[in-house]
Symmetry: C2
Subunit: 394 residues, 2 copies
């Protein structure tokens, strides 16, 4: 058995190659960019009018406040030319600045009578006012967003602006979840006294979805060794990541560790000094990754949040540490994971621990916002102590 931190390190050391795929820019939010985004022309590509009003040529020699309106420069139309420097052209936001102009004066600062614009006395226009100069934000061929960035709404707009209707991203892994347990029946069925409905495969899928991943297929297998072995072999061929729940502990029908040995999987982690979730297993089989989580519902969800998702997200030490409301007695040898509600006070957020009766008790955790992690210690954690908070959405 190893510690939580040692297990985490072993898991995080394993990398997996993500395919590079193209997807429509509007679906790329929060994906990881697999190419540099380059300016295909200057940003902005022309001297762009930034306010509705008039474009004029300010001249140091002459301070005019009255401009006859020669015409109008509409957005999306070819560049016009101001013919007489004493006149003006009406201009609209987004339009190209007409030739021979060096200033835009907004309507708010004008009175227009008889096709003549008069600048309000209080307003002093300056050269370059309300002109978004060609190339002032970026030059043609400049790298605008580097490979590896997580795509934000601003990136979406930038990529669209340079003509990327599709962007290259690192594809998320194909994930399957395999439930085990002869006592488990499909949700829609009516259980006999000794049966319960499948819930782990759904809660794990829910946690994946909340964190931006999909479960591509869900399966359930009876606790028969040959069946299970064939299924695991088949799924490890087909999917990048296989999450198994149940059959990983010491029971007579806990076939997973044995099967993985027979399949010559490289077992990287098996059993962690923690409660709940001790019999967690992580292995590599033909470059595919297998997480085998204990079958108790609290354990399987905790292990998804603590090990599977950080591996998938490749997040680096972004843990939240928050003060606890009430004292917690740690275990001397095991890391404890306890349900947690994040609450707000005038002094900021704090954590209210929520204890479940045991790792089969989902109900007590219905108000939880995640878990807290209490490392092994001989000393009590006093109220106000900072503890690591693991939210549903990491």
């Amino acid at each position: 058995m190893i510690t939580v931190n040692a297990a985490n390190k072993l898991i995080r050391n394993i990398t997996y190659k993500r395919k590079e795929i193209f997807i429509p820019i509007e679906h790329a939010s929060e994906e990881i960019l697999a190419e540099d985004i380059i300016a295909d022309r200057d940003f902005p590509p022309y001297d762009r009018v930034m306010m509705d009003g008039i474009a004029v040529k300010l001249q140091t020699s002459k301070k005019s406040i009255r401009y006859f309106i020669e015409g109008i420069q509409k957005p999306g139309k070819n560049q016009k030319t101001l013919k007489n420097p004493d006149n003006c052209l009406e201009v609209m936001t987004g339009a190209i600045l007409p030739k021979n102009c060096n200033c835009v004066i907004p309507y708010e600062c004008l009175d227009i009578v008889n096709n003549t614009a008069r600048v309000k006395i209080s307003y002093k226009p300056k050269t370059c006012d309300y002109i978004h100069k060609k190339g002032s934000d970026a030059k043609k061929n400049e790298k605008l967003i580097p490979i590896g960035e997580t795509i934000s709404p601003i990136h979406t707009a930038i990529a669209a602006s340079v003509g990327k209707s599709k962007v290259k991203i690192f594809a998320k892994p194909q994930i399957a979840i395999l439930g085990t347990g002869d006592e488990l029946i499909p949700i829609a069925n009516t259980p006999s006294t000794h049966q319960i409905r499948q819930s782990n495969i759904y809660s794990i899928e829910s946690a994946l979805k909340l964190n931006g991943f999909s479960c591509n297929r869900k399966f359930h297998s009876k606790d028969k060794k040959d069946l299970l072995k064939n299924k695991i072999y088949q799924l490890s061929q087909e999917f990048d990541v296989l999450i198994i729940t149940g059959a990983v502990s010491m029971g007579k029908f806990d076939f997973i560790p044995g099967i993985l040995k027979e399949l010559k999987a490289n077992i990287i982690v098996y059993k962690i000094k923690q409660r709940p979730g001790k019999p967690f297993l992580f292995a590599r089989l033909h470059n595919k990754l297998i997480f085998a989580l204990p079958g108790n519902p609290v354990s399987s969800l905790l292990c998804t949040l603590r090990y599977v998702l950080p591996f998938l997200l490749r997040t680096k030490g972004r843990a939240q540490f928050l003060p606890i409301k009430s004292a917690i007695t740690p275990n001397k040898k095991l890391t404890l994971f306890i349900g947690a509600k994040k609450q707000e006070s005038s002094k900021g957020y704090f954590i209210k621990p929520i204890y479940s009766h045991n790792s089969g008790d989902l109900i007590s955790l219905k108000d939880a916002d995640g878990f807290i992690e209490i490392p092994p210690s001989a000393k009590e954690f006093k109220p106000g102590s900072l503890v690591k908070f693991i939210p549903w959405k990491l």
Copy 2:
């Protein structure tokens, strides 16, 4: 013109009716529950074995440490009966506790030789050990999750356990985005000098998606009044929420305010004392809601985050306030929204303001994590002052 807070209040006062729909439980993560989830039987439904090991009948009269193994109670099988109270039955996690048993002793505490289990000297079993008692977490007909809850992975597991393969949720609104502007061309096209590519409709869709909403359809219209009026009328029939970008300010072709008046829309907000995004408009038309955002790319994204998404999310005052790294000079009359990068130091998170050249400058904001909101004030905001942070993902 009204203040940011006044506008926000007017917008938040408008409610919209959400349809109630059923969706598969595995897709319901983060949706709002539209029904109570009730226990269809006790939780757990039977005395459930919690560890792999043996089930015995502890008797005060006799302290036995050796138990002959009568048989095995597998998960998913009918309840067996321990025939001889001096013997034991092997049991596996998840199985129903056999009749005549009151304690489970884990394998870890046993040595098994010749079909006889011997309890390790150091281990002292107690009545009820490792038995998850029928009904100990919840009783049949108990309300487990109330209507209105945001569905977490734990809720998913609970709903699955009570047989909800589908759950009733409040459906998200059908949303359309309508771009305007004759200077804008489709992403995949090659622009002429005076043209730029559409980006607002994509960045808005990206921000919606990041926050759990979909844009059901995207459109673009030329700046022709009749075209635009017909389009707005048609879309307001078809969708719950219409987000328009551009054509809302003072330009000659800014037809939106006029069109909405002609359509007899109830204009609730028009123009806000803020920079950027002043000409923001919010209206109601036949119980459908219309957000008309200024066309500059930074303005349209800011207004999506500050007004559209809080309206859709119905979030209540969950704002984050974080200290700023460098001094900021507020405007005396307008609320300023400034790009912001959230950075981490040993003292926690702080905000580095990111200034864009103007509301057309996307490039400067490429490293931003959102915006900060600086209310009007005559006094400088010193480094360390707390300001409201508006992240891409609210």
